[in-house]
């Protein structure tokens, strides 16, 4: 036994079993992206809080809101209408083939109308607006951020959250239901045209058959759903734009991430909202 054997030793962290290098790198590989995701949600929460705080305070930015309603609404109308029209025609052509096989050809108008009003109209409109408006907001606010224009707005004593984010978010929320109605209308019209091309049917008969089993709740729930989609698009696009950094590359990243993330969250929200709608409007 050595001379030092009886001297009590202090325990230190060195005495604990050290994780292997592989284990540590695996933990880092999980923790770093997880941390950035948590950070993103934290910053998003702060952003939403700042926007909410500004909501009920003067000035209400009426002129800017009108400008944004035009930007989001009327400038997206043509694209949304075309997308709705295309979906209506495709839906009629595809459904016809299947329904004829099952001997349920008379159900075609109802199938087209129900499908467009309930699902394809709102989702297609939201995705088109994600692409057009989301990218636009992300790039515009991102560019303003990296060129210090947002700082200049704040330095001049104006609430940038109110002027830039609040107005765009409200415009998205108000315009999505109206754009969805336009997409639904165009989809039903082209659905009838596609159906008529295969087997002529009077427009009033198509509409009568299509809306036979449709009630008020069939309109109410999808309209509410598109308002939520508008909220998601507005919030995500403004948030990604206003946190942009890193010059022109950063602006590009903001625009891309605004589209990708808002599309992703719209689809996720769609799943949840469809389930909720089925619970409340069975």
């Amino acid at each position: 036994m050595s001379y030092h054997a009886n001297i009590p030793r202090r325990y230190s962290t060195d005495d604990l079993p050290q994780p292997s290098v592989a284990l540590r790198s695996a933990a880092a590989a999980i923790w770093i992206p997880l941390n950035s995701v948590l950070e993103w949600f934290g910053e998003l929460g702060m952003f939403i809080w700042q926007v909410m705080r500004s909501t009920f305070r003067r000035p209400f930015e009426g002129l800017e809101l009108i400008r944004q309603l035009d930007e989001v609404g009327s400038k997206s109308l043509a694209m949304v209408a075309m997308a709705g029209a295309a979906i209506g025609a495709v839906l009629a052509l595809e459904s016809r083939h299947s329904l004829v096989q099952f001997g349920a050809k008379s159900m075609l108008p109802a199938a087209v109308v129900f499908s467009i009003i309930h699902e394809t109209g709102p989702v297609i409109t939201a995705l088109v607006v994600c692409g057009r408006v989301g990218a636009g907001i992300g790039a515009e606010l991102g560019s303003m951020k990296v060129t210090e224009q947002i700082d200049a707005i704040e330095a001049s004593g104006v609430n940038a959250y109110k002027l830039l984010a609040f107005t765009r978010i409200v415009a998205c929320v108000l315009m999505l239901p109206l754009l969805t109605l336009a997409a639904d209308f165009c989809g039903i019209i082209t659905g009838w045209i596609a159906n008529t091309a295969a087997e002529p049917i009077a427009f009033h008969k198509f509409i009568h058959a299509g809306f036979a089993g449709t009630g008020f709740s069939d309109f109410l729930a999808p309209t509410f759903r598109t308002m939520v989609f508008g909220l998601i698009i507005g919030v995500i696009a403004c948030f990604q734009g206003m946190r942009s950094q890193g010059g022109t590359e950063g602006v590009g990243r903001s625009a891309t991430s605004a589209v990708v993330l808002s599309s992703l969250f719209v689809m996720l929200a769609d799943v949840i909202l469809v389930k909720l709608i089925l619970v409340f409007f069975p």
Binding site: M144, I153, A155, S156, G157
Partner: protein, 286 residues
């Protein structure tokens, strides 16, 4: 090497009212509560910065900076790139929060101010950004009119007149309807200065106002700052690398190094300094 201890700062001059007749503000700025003008408060210093600390991660940018600026005084802040000169201005205008220390604007502590309180304080300040930061979707005239439209109750005609007056003072009256992308960097800076002066602020924060400008325009900007100093007793902090400009416009010069003021005094005092960093700084310019 640790920087040498900062030299004793000369006492702040009282406002020299005899230097020039103080112009009455031509309009009222909307304030929360009572209507007030934006005239500087000559009772005490316009800005007081005490023990200001700011770090970004491991990098300490400001390390206990102290600074006082009296009404009607212009202080030029010099230093090497990355020593926190622009950060100092951003902290004063509340675009960032300091890690520690206090900032008083006309006697009001701003480091813990709410957004609404800060916005009220910001109406008393004019900020010229390093790259002008003009709103690129607005014309030159609309850029200058922006603070007037937001914070005054001027009619469109009054606003138009004021915008023309402001742009005239920076030699840009011929470019009212141009977009920022259609004018040069120097012209953008002049428009930025006109915008910063729109509300007749008592405090001006200028981030490299003469950088990238030709000598004649730089001289004009310097003259404009001097005029404001004399006519409206505007307290200014000018961040600059231009020693000539600092000599012309500044009552005092503060030289920053490693997040703190190495020396503070008049141009002549700094020129005579035997401090190694100061002499090196002045030698490079000469």
């Amino acid at each position: 090497m640790m920087p040498p201890a900062p030299a004793q700062a000369p006492a702040i001059k009282p406002p020299e009212t005899e230097r020039g007749k103080k112009l009455a503000p031509t309009f009222n700025v909307k304030q929360a509560g009572a209507q007030q003008d934006n005239a500087p408060n000559s009772a005490g210093p316009a800005m007081v910065v005490q023990s200001l600390h700011k770090s970004y991660g491991e990098q300490k940018v400001l390390n206990g900076l102290d600074l006082k600026v009296g009404s009607g005084q212009t202080v030029a802040v010099l230093g090497r790139s990355g020593t926190g000169k622009s950060v100092l201005l951003r902290l004063i205008v509340g675009l960032q929060k300091p890690d520690a220390g206090t900032i008083q604007i006309q006697g009001q502590e701003i480091t813990n101010a709410s957004l609404e309180e800060m916005n009220e304080i910001r109406k008393k300040m004019g900020f010229l950004f390093q790259h002008a930061a003009l709103y690129d979707s607005l014309t030159v005239a609309e850029n200058v009119a922006f603070p007037l439209r937001r914070h005054t109750e001027m009619t469109a005609a009054q606003r138009c007149e004021r915008v023309q007056e402001l742009l005239g003072s920076v030699g840009m009256q011929a470019d009212l309807n141009k977009m920022p992308s259609d004018i040069s960097g120097g012209m953008q800076k002049r428009v930025g200065l006109a915008r910063a002066l729109a509300l007749e602020p008592g405090i001006l924060l200028l981030d490299e106002p003469t950088a990238g400008l030709d000598p004649i325009t730089s001289g004009e900007i310097d003259e404009l700052i001097l005029k404001l100093q004399e006519e409206r007793e505007v307290a200014s902090i000018v961040v600059t690398h231009d020693l000539h400009s600092a000599k012309v416009i500044a009552d005092r010069i503060v030289l920053l190094h490693e997040g703190n003021a190495v020396i503070e005094g008049t141009y002549e005092e700094l020129e005579k300094s035997t401090d190694e960093f100061v002499t090196e700084f002045f030698k490079r310019d000469s």
